[in-house]
């Protein structure tokens, strides 16, 4: 058991794009939001090249807050975004998906990255202000895939099933993770 746990920790520590760095936190109208470190960028490299090729990438941002160093999660919030790059204006656009959509265009790269953090927050209601807390922001970029289309296609045959299960998973996710703690909620600035 101990050995398998160690193996898991080693696997996590070598996972690509897994980053650790200090993040800022701020209160915004009863909601706790995070501020990424100034040197943290996820719109770069392969992700940036895909955006510059006209792709719209889906990002999933999860904020988790814990009062026992993530042994348990007190509260979490998940939001999904689409980021794209305007080919002619050479600016970014970001949309938060969901019932109430928020979108913004003509963004610089830094502003597009910040949009995701600015539009994800954890409600402070019910959290003890004087206790120590830890917060973690996890971000994942997913490539478009055809899983739903495949399942709903009426002409699914044995050959297509064999092909589908046999092919490599192209929609491999890129992940980032940053966290901070401990801090007390009453110390957090607005």
């Amino acid at each position: 058991m101990r050995q398998s746990r160690r193996t898991l920790l080693m696997a996590l520590s070598t996972a690509p794009h897994l980053r650790a760095g200090a993040i800022g936190v701020r209160r915004d109208d009863g909601v706790l939001r995070v501020l990424p470190p100034s040197d943290f960028h996820f719109l770069e490299g392969q992700t940036l090249r895909k955006l510059q090729d006209g792709a719209g990438l889906v990002f999933t941002m999860q904020l988790s807050i814990s009062n026992d160093q993530f042994r348990t999660i007190a509260r979490r919030q998940v939001e999904r975004f689409v980021v794209s790059f305007d080919l002619w204006e050479e600016k970014f656009a970001a949309v938060r998906l969901g019932l109430v959509k928020h979108q913004q265009s003509h963004l610089t790269r830094d502003a597009a990255e910040r949009f995701l953090f600015d539009h994800t927050g954890i409600a402070l209601y019910g959290l003890a202000a004087g206790e120590p807390h830890w917060i973690r922001a996890e971000l994942r970029a997913d490539e478009p895939r055809d899983s739903a289309g495949f399942l709903l296609d009426p002409s699914v045959t044995l050959s297509r099933l064999v092909e589908w299960f046999g092919r490599s998973q192209r929609g491999e996710a890129l992940r980032w993770s940053i966290d901070r703690g401990p801090f007390r909620l009453h110390e957090v600035e607005r």
Partner: protein
Amino acid sequence: MRSSKAFRRVVTAIFVMGFLFGVFSARAFSWNAPDEANVNSRYTVESVEITGANAARLSKDLREELQSYVGQRFSPEAFGKLSERVRRELKARLVSHKLKKGSSPDNVRVVLDVMGHHVVLDTQQSRLAWYSGQGWTGELIAGLHNGRKQHLSLGLFSDADTFTERSAGVKAAYRFSTLRDRIRPGFAFSTSHAQYDARTLQAAKPNDLYRSVDSFQPTVTLIPWQGDDREELAVEIGMRLQRFVLESPGPNRNVASHALVNSLRYRRVRGDVAGGLTTLRASYGLTNGTGALSSDYKFNRHEARADVEYRRAASRINADFVAGSLNGRAPLRDRFTGGTTTILRGWNKMELAPLGADKLTATSIEYGHSLKGKFEAAAFYDAGSVWMRGGTATLRNSVGGGFRTRDGFFMYVAFPLRDGRVEPIFMTGTTF
């Protein structure tokens, strides 16, 4: 006992509900971004280009559909699906669509980038069929292919449909293509055992029947002409090295039936389903058992086939014709049969020719009409004859109908038309 049944029902219900939930949640929680979320969806598509592969290898339908997006707003979802269709048709490892600036602001060029060959495992040659009075036929063939470059297949079969006898064994084949798919060398190998119907055993002479057969057939297919919609003319030349172990108890039971095998094939596709799609296939094959290859059988076998399929909207009409002639002394396996799932449906082949025949002429007309989903109701009329050289050809007719699907399943009832008796024959089958 009752509680165990109830438990099974609950488990089944949970499984079905879980599956349905999975399907619906897959639809609701698609990873794909909605079109309007991509800022480039406001631009107009100026052109659609393909890089990394020859666009002429795509079907005409798909090429026309790609061009139909020119002048429309860019839709990431539509091009995602089109990329997947291009990948499947070209058997590529990956096809991704990229946007480039067009010749003027507000216009973009869509480039479908085709990358690598996709090694695919398929079972497309596999089938399962049942023909009342003649039994099951099953073939499980696994194919491994790398685009159009190489194809390897290996499988097991028990076939009571193709030949006079039931043949059961293993087979394998390999071919590759070179010079832009214009030359396709390859070989096929099979080894099988035979099993005979009582009527065949009764009619056979001592050296007619064999116990087992091994066959090795190296061939080269040349493509002198290729049209713009996967139309082609193909010439296949090669030889068949075949060795039988006879059923007869004599001392020398090994005989050879080596032959030259040559064929000419033509395929043409015109139009589309909305306005009328016509597919024509024609072939001529000559198998020449010759002493030059030290064959114990010396014969010439000619076989000509043609079939035309016309589809328009929900309707389909097929007209097939096959004719064959055999001169000389050929093994049982090279003789013609009728009363199968494709030729003279409804007749029993043991009744028509228990030892096969030297001559064959058959035609078939089938009409199909699409129902809901992929199902189709079909009706057919078959006519033809199988007979021995010097004998009299008796015209046989049959009618029938049933259901089929576009992906190979069929379930037909056929009625051979004879004087005074109505004897339905049931047949069903599917391809995988």
